[in-house]
C-alpha cells in the first residue's frame, strides 16, 4: 500500500545544509554587532527587546540551552513570578496575564511571562547564541570594551586535558553584562585590575529594587550592567524572588546603551 505523504520530500542533506548554512550566515553576520548582551535572563531579554525594537543589531549570549534565566520560576522551585508596581506596565506591554495579590504586588505564571518575554525579544529581532559561554572580554584602546570571547558551553564542561578548544571573539560597540550575581563580564575586568566590584549585600527587597534600576549604567567604557549584576558591582542589597526591577533595569540599560551608541 502506498501511503500518502504528509510532509514535503526533503532529505537529511538538505536538513543539515539548512541548519549549518543559515546558522553560519547568521553567526557570521553577528561576529560584529552593535550590542552583545551576555545573559538571557529577564533584564538581558528586556534590554535586547527594547534595543532591537529601536533598530539596533543585538546578539544575546546564553550559556544554557534554554533562555529566560530564573524568570521561569518565581522562587523556591515554584513557578509563580512576582512583580512590584510599576512593573505591571511591562507585563501589559508583553501581554502577560497577571493578578494583583495585594496592592502593588502582581503575580503571573512564570512559564507564560518568560515565554512572552523571549518571544517579544525574538519578534523585535534579537538573535541568540545559546549553549555559548562567555569566556573573556575584548579590549581596545584605553581599555574600552569592544566585544566578547565565547566558547561552546559543553567545551567548558569537559576535562581540560581533552579539550584544547580555542574560543572565538565577537565584536560589539557596547557589551551588556546581564549575568546576574556572577557579573561574569565585570569580573573579567576586575581580574585585570580595571574595575573593583563591591559584592552584593543581604536581601532587602524594598531597598534593592529601586537601587538596581537607578544604578543601571555604564561602569566602564563600552560596558553596561543590568539586573543583579548591578548589585554585585555597586554593593547593593540582593532583592530575592521578584522581577520588576529586572525588567525595568533591562529597559534602563537599553536607554543607556542607545545614548552611548548615539554618541560614538
Amino acid at each position: 500500500m502506498v501511503r500518502k505523504k504528509i510532509f514535503s520530500s526533503v532529505g537529511e542533506k538538505e536538513v543539515t545544509r539548512a541548519i549549518t548554512e543559515t546558522f553560519l550566515k547568521q553567526f557570521s553576520s553577528f561576529s560584529e554587532s552593535e550590542v552583545i548582551i551576555v545573559g538571557a535572563g529577564p533584564s538581558g531579554l528586556m534590554a535586547g527587546r527594547d534595543l532591537a525594537a529601536s533598530g539596533h543589531k543585538v546578539l544575546i549570549i546564553e550559556r544554557n540551552n534554554y533562555l529566560g534565566g530564573g524568570f521561569w520560576i518565581g522562587g523556591y522551585l515554584m513557578n509563580k513570578v512576582t512583580v512590584r508596581s510599576p512593573g505591571e506596565k511591562i507585563l501589559k506591554e508583553l501581554g502577560v496575564p497577571y493578578q494583583e495579590y495585594v496592592k502593588g504586588l502582581l503575580v503571573a505564571d512564570g512559564p507564560h511571562a518568560c515565554s512572552k518575554l523571549i518571544a517579544a525579544a525574538c519578534d523585535a529581532g534579537v538573535k541568540f547564541a545559546n549553549l555559548s559561554i562567555f569566556d573573556d572580554i575584548i579590549l581596545r584602546e584605553n581599555n574600552r570594551v569592544a566585544g566578547v570571547v565565547i566558547n561552546w558551553t559543553p567545551v567548558s564542561a569537559m576535562p581540560r586535558e581533552i579539550t584544547c578548544v580555542d574560543p572565538i571573539g565577537l565584536e560589539a560597540r557596547v557589551v551588556l553584562d546581564a549575568t546576574g550575581h556572577d557579573a561574569c563580564v565585570v569580573r573579567k575586568l576586575e581580574a585585570r585590575g580595571l574595575i573593583k566590584t563591591r559584592g552584593f549585600g543581604a536581601m532587602w527587597v524594598e531597598e534593592s529594587e529601586d537601587a538596581v534600576v537607578e544604578y543601571t549604567s555604564e561602569v566602564h567604557p563600552g560596558l553596561v550592567v543590568s539586573g543583579m549584576a548591578v548589585s554585585t558591582v555597586f554593593g547593593l542589597p540582593r532583592m530575592g524572588p521578584t522581577f520588576g526591577s529586572m525588567l525595568l533595569s533591562g529597559r534602563r540599560a537599553a536607554e543607556v546603551i542607545s545614548r552611548i551608541l548615539k554618541k560614538r
Binding site: 573593583k196 549585600g201 549604567s217 554593593g235
Partner: protein
C-alpha cells in the same frame, strides 16, 4: 593669646537667611559667610564630584574611601543641582578632608562648613555612628545630623517599627525651628571652644557645650541655654569686647 577676627562660615547649599542672622546674634564673634556656596564649585568639577562620592559609606565595616563609578558622580551632581538630601551617609573625616581641599589652603580659622549631608564616624564599638558635628581644621556641622543623630527614647524606636509616621507624631523627640537654630548656634560655640582649647565639649550636662548623645540631653541643654560657670569664665577671656 590666640585671637580671632572672624568665624569663617561655608555652606554647601544656600541656607535660610534667618539662620545666618540668628547665628550672628548668638555667636560671640562676627561671622564671615563665604560665597559662593560650595555646591556651585563642586558641580563644575568632576574631580570634586569624585572626591565627594568617595566619602560615601556603603557598608558597616568600610575602612577606605570608595572608588566611585560614573553614575555615582552623576548622582552627586544631581543632588547638588536639585538641592536634595542624598540618601547616603558620608564618612565625616574623609568629608572634612574634602571640604578642606575645597576651601583655600591658607584658610583663616576657625572655619565651619554647614552641610545637609548625614555624616558618621567609626566608633570604639567597631561600627559607624551618625554625628551632628565633627571638629577639626574645618568643622563640619550636619543639619540633618542634628535631627537624626541623637538617640531617641526606646518608645520612639518601638513605635517606629510599627508606624514611622505615628512614631514621629507621638514622640517628643522633635525640635522646633527655634530649638533647631539654637542647637546650630550651640555647635558654633563648641567649634569656637575647640579652636581655643582643643576641646569642644564640657562634661557638665547643663552646659551648652555638653556632648549630647540623647535627645533628652539636647532638650535639657536647650532649656538651660547657657554655659557652665567655668566656660562662662573662659568665654569672657576669649571673647572679651566681642
Amino acid at each position: 593669646m590666640i585671637s580671632i577676627k572672624y568665624l569663617n562660615l561655608w555652606t554647601e547649599q544656600k541656607i535660610a537667611p534667618d539662620l545666618v542672622s540668628y547665628l550672628e546674634k548668638k555667636v560671640p564673634v562676627p561671622i564671615r559667610l563665604a560665597r559662593p556656596e560650595l555646591s556651585r564649585r563642586i558641580i563644575t568639577r568632576p574631580d570634586f564630584l569624585k572626591q565627594l562620592a568617595a566619602c560615601r559609606l556603603i557598608n558597616h565595616q568600610q575602612s577606605e574611601p570608595l572608588n566611585p563609578y560614573k553614575i555615582e558622580l552623576e548622582q552627586e551632581k544631581k543632588f547638588l543641582q536639585e538641592n536634595r538630601l542624598p540618601p547616603f551617609v558620608y564618612e565625616a573625616n574623609w568629608l572634612a578632608n574634602f571640604y578642606q581641599s575645597l576651601v583655600s589652603p591658607g584658610l583663616p580659622r576657625p572655619a565651619i562648613v554647614l552641610t545637609n549631608r548625614r555624616i558618621a564616624t567609626f566608633g570604639d564599638d567597631g561600627r559607624y555612628h551618625l554625628r551632628y558635628a565633627l571638629y577639626g581644621y574645618v568643622t563640619i556641622i550636619s543639619l540633618s545630623g542634628i535631627e537624626q543623630a541623637p538617640a531617641r527614647s526606646q518608645k520612639y524606636y518601638q513605635l517606629k517599627l510599627l508606624d514611622p509616621l505615628l512614631a514621629k507624631k507621638l514622640s517628643n523627640d522633635q525640635l522646633t525651628k527655634k530649638e533647631f537654630y539654637q542647637t546650630v548656634a550651640n555647635l558654633f560655640w563648641q567649634a569656637l571652644f575647640y579652636y581655643f582649647t582643643g576641646n569642644p565639649f564640657c562634661e557638665n550636662k547643663n552646659c551648652l557645650l555638653y556632648n549630647f548623645h540623647w535627645y533628652r540631653e539636647l532638650k535639657n541643654i536647650l532649656q538651660k541655654n547657657k554655659l557652665c560657670p567655668n566656660h562662662q569664665r573662659l568665654a569672657k577671656k576669649f571673647f572679651a569686647g566681642k
